[in-house]
Amino acid sequence: MERVLEINSLTKKFGRITAVDSLDLTVEKGSVFGILGPNGSGKSTTLGMILGVVNPVSGNFKWFNGDQDHKVRRRIGAILESPCFYHYLSANNNLKVVAEIKKVDTARIEVVLDRVGLLSRKNDPFSTYSLGMKQRLAIASALLSDPEVMILDEPTNGLDPQGIADIRELIIDLANEGRTIILASHLLDEVQRICTDFAVLRHGKKIFQGKVADLDQDKTNVEVRSNDTDRLSAYLSGSPFIASFRKEGSNFKLVLNPGIEITDFHRDLIANDIVLNKLQVNTNTLEQKFLQLLKSESNA
């Protein structure tokens, strides 16, 4: 696969705090890449560095395969944190400034404003916009150069449910057009809904990188409960089907060995004369994966 972005041992320190700690990351063309992490895990700092606003202490990054000067950023549409515009300028005039920077024809302004549904408000000053409109204007601005890559940092932060839905729909549309999207978020279900790939950051380090699709295939997490807890417990400790298990209240949470179907497991239970009053197959959600990762990381 063609690589859009390659980050090599990128590091940033603020005083004594290491915000990003020798981070490696690659983003492939056409993916929707989610960068997850709790607040303060270095997501925004990382994006700041690859966009030239934060100076790295060490390490490097490479956009596309070509030149690495500032002109490469004209091919990228990016919004970091809150939408940043001149408050006293209208949407139209704000985008003129961006068009000037990105060397884009001003005819594109109408196109992108229409796309985010702000065409009717294009002559109103930015300061009169609602948060949702500001965010949509930011996306319009990012779209101005018809970019191959879009970078969005917490794009739904602070929006109402309708605003969140609008922005997500827009992102999915953009991804379907074949654009590569890098999305930083601490909202796990957002990443699970939108992204194809994700990485998890913690204390500036990457602790996981994988595909969202792989999470859904992982259906080996099972929760069971029986009236005869002791017998079930004894069976679970000896069963060849079970990779591991753990008691949670009156429930047992267990992980099946690879290749074992839930039906095999159930049949074996009946053969051993164990009757359950609860059998639940859990799809591994990003949230579980995330918490599991953070937990294992803090134990390590």
């Binding site: 966009l51 030239g52 606003v53 500032h70 970091l80 940043c84 001149y86 300028l89 400034v97 150069s145």
Partner: protein, 261 residues
């Protein structure tokens, strides 16, 4: 691009207006001020102030250039607004993210400063010509051009002051605070510092940044009293001011390069 950013900014137009209005009002009222002085009983060695040739072409350029520099604080406020707005709206970051290099960001601000300095020079030239033709005794070509070097000197002097302002804005980043520091420094710290230092070590006093910059165009009106004010631009003054210009350029580059946006 700076024009795109500022064209609907009300404060920008108001300040620009105040600056040129103040210039025009003061320049045109020179005669009135002299009359007032006369009525006050002021006279110099038996000469009435009204007789002073402030609008003669030999003197007018230096007089106006000095006057223009006196009101420098207004265009300097424009520079402050143009830079601190970026920090306030975080648009300096967005500009970089959108694909501007830090150098281009600086050049854009610098070209704005050069534009303001040139604009001021053009206005002063216009006023000089109008006032000169109205009042001057000698309107021959050579008289007009005599000492017209004060016009580019004025632009240069303003530009150096703008560099100082840009440097402050980039360090402080907050408009109100920058304005405060600039005013206090320009009107209090440096005049006092220059006076004290200058009293004991005249050379040290004269190389303080703003003192050096303002010495490019010497205070002209005292010549009518002492008859010894330089009516030319001294090379040492020019060099001192230029060195400060370079120092501030370096400071600005350092700020832009090292700090996170």
């Amino acid at each position: 691009m700076e024009f795109l950013k500022l064209k609907t900014n009300r404060a920008f137009w108001i300040l620009l207006g105040i600056y040129f209005l103040a210039l025009i009002v003061f320049a045109f009222s020179g005669g009135i001020i002299l009359k007032y002085l006369e009525n006050d009983g002021v006279n110099y060695q038996g000469l009435s102030p009204v007789m002073l040739p402030i609008y003669d072409f030999e003197d007018i350029w230096q007089n106006l250039a000095w006057l223009g520099y006196l009101f420098k604080i207004f265009p300097a406020l424009l520079i402050i607004i143009s830079i601190t707005n970026e920090f306030q709206f975080k648009t300096h970051r967005q500009n970089i993210i959108d694909g501007l290099s830090r150098m281009e960001f600086f050049l854009s601000k610098l070209s704005f400063a050069i534009f303001l300095a040139l604009l001021s020079a053009v206005v002063i030239t216009g006023m000089g010509l109008i006032l000169g033709f109205l009042h001057a005794s000698d309107t021959s070509g050579s008289a007009i051009l005599y000492n017209a070097v004060f016009i580019p000197a004025h632009a240069y002097q303003l530009l150096l002051y703008f560099l100082f302002t840009m440097f402050l804005s980039l360090i402080i980043r907050k408009s109100a605070f920058t304005i405060l520091v600039l005013l206090i420094y320009t009107l209090m710290i440096e005049p006092i510092g220059a006076a004290i230092l200058g009293h004991y070590y005249p050379f040290l006093g004269s190389i303080l940044p703003l003192e050096a910059i303002s010495s490019v165009v010497a205070f002209p009106f005292s010549r009518y009293v002492f008859l010894q004010t330089p009516d030319y631009i001294g090379l040492p003054e020019f060099l001192k001011a230029s060195v400060w210009g370079l120092v501030m350029l370096f400071g600005i580059f350092y700020q832009l390069k090292k700090r996170d946006f």
